[in-house]
Amino acid sequence: MIKSNIKLLVLSFLLLISLRPLQSAEMVDPIKVDWSFKGLTGTFDRASLQRGFQVYKEVCASCHSMQYLSYRNLGEPGGPEFSEQEVKAIAASFEIEDGPDSQGEMFTRPGKPSDKFKSPYPNVQAATAANGGAYPPDMSVLVKARKGGANYIYSVLVGYEDPPPGVTLDDGVYYNKYMVGNKIKMPNNLMDGLVEYADGTESTVDQMAKDVTTFLAWAAEPELEERHKTGVKVIIYLVLLTILVYLSMKKIWSRIDSEV
């Protein structure tokens, strides 16, 4: 009796969920990419992370901040894993404002690994004003802040198209197939051969979009690899303990004439 009711329950729930596509017809689903960091044991592609950082640094960073990351993160396990020397060199290539000194003056100095990523604009208002009234969002947790995550970010990067007939765009507004509402104020900044990858990988638009999305996925979840690894161990431990407790329970309950 109870079993058949549960079946009914599941069926009616599935029916409800199948109603959903009727509602959201105007949105184009993002492209599904087979990311290396997907799945229960997913890890980041180290080389892709390093290339992605290069794209971020040379292209995105001129408008987008990443205020929650520090240069030291670039050398930490589970990330791009640049060597200590490389991290120091990357940090030192930025002029960071510090102070006040003993005279009360602010001064600039070369960056250190402990510094946060330098923002392109002093504040949100300045960033908004410089970009035609649209604030380029901080990219630290961007992948977690968008429905569809990495797939969505990648899709937007490769989703620029000429607007379909009948759609008129204002100056400084671009048409993007995957962007919510299809209108985006960020121009299509990626073009083939834009950056020169140190490892010799050909820098196609698709390659750069994948690399920088991988980098952003790591930036949003720098703990991902450790989380996956710890998770597998925790689950194995819990399953073994559950089996032991189950056997103990059976043994204890065998003393009386009742099922457990």
């Binding site: 802040a145 407790v245 329970m249 009386i256 009742s258």
Partner: protein
Amino acid sequence: MSEHEYVPKSKAAKWFNDRLPLLTLGAHLTDYPTPKNLNYWWTFGGILTFCLITQIVTGIVLAMHYVAHADLAFASVEHIMRDVNYGWLIRYIHSNGASMFFLAVYIHIFRSLFYGSYKSPREVIWIIGLMIYLLMMAAAFMGYVLPWGQMSFWGATVITNLFSAIPLVGDSITTWLWGAYSVDNPTLNRFFSLHYLIPFLILGLVVLHIWALHVPGNNNPVGIDIKKPSKDTVPFHPYITIKDAFALLVFMIIFAGFVFFTPNVLGHSDNYIPANPLVTPAHIVPEWYLLPFYAILRSVPDKLGGVILMFSAIFILFVLPWLDTSKVRSAVFRPIYRQFFWILVIDVLMLGYVGAMPAEGVYLVLARVGTIYYFLHFIVVMPVVGYLEKTDPIPMSISEPVLTGGAEPSLARKVNDKV
């Protein structure tokens, strides 16, 4: 409570126990006669205790690193995620722990509804449980505000604005709740303070909940009164403790699956966008465990009416023991009520689903139908069915259907199959 008085063995223990009978309490909890036929739906009490302790422990650690200020809250959460040792683990346990807590409490409540655990003589246990549930909702709502993301801010705005529907004094009350003229830094500060307070209130009520439970003892799947202790009962330890431990471990595996492999699936992506009072999200949705009530709220075109109906949906549960007219507790022996029970389950799931959808078109119709049925179930179905229903024969004791199978084999088999 127990038949024979507990006497500590050592002289020192006896000296202490005469002054504060903690050891007697311990002995009572260990020996507590529990029906031996409890099924796994009865393990959620222990699981819920685990959830509460987990939330308190992880919450205390998070509070050491969190900053309750509108300009710093979002950044401090990212600081926890990135710079605090295992901060990501502690925060993900806490945020997913809230969902697991509600999952367990909903199973616990529906178990009570199915087996009639709210009925005499257990009305006070039921009412204390509902108070715990109300406090849980308050704690969860305020906790969701603390990261100060877009959903935090706009969720808080929507929910606190409900109070403005109160005639005459509504706006004053809302301003008083906010501590400002909109959801702002003072609101965040007081929500943090209350979010820290409420779990300890819940802990106090949990003690009362268990105390009230230990007066009549557990209900059981057959729903009949049993003699305690007797051959129908087992001592709580080790029989129930080991069974609860097993169920808890299975629960923890699911919990760990969320924490380690899909830690954000139950949250909303917009909450990783810092709160912005100037930009309203396209759809403001509460956390999944509040969605059925959200659907009821939005099913009424009038704001005050919606608020009244939403609160009624919870408060009607307080009088449930007196709305149910059936003498039989367990739905196992109530063929008609059992059907309505499952309709209610489907109804609440459906309300939860449409609560997540925009309030328009077919969803609005479903929300209205669901809301009407929800109230009909408690106001009409429960009193009428209890009065008219012809219930199945009830066994004399838990052991009977098993032991005296020879006398009435059909009944014995039937009862065993159902339980």
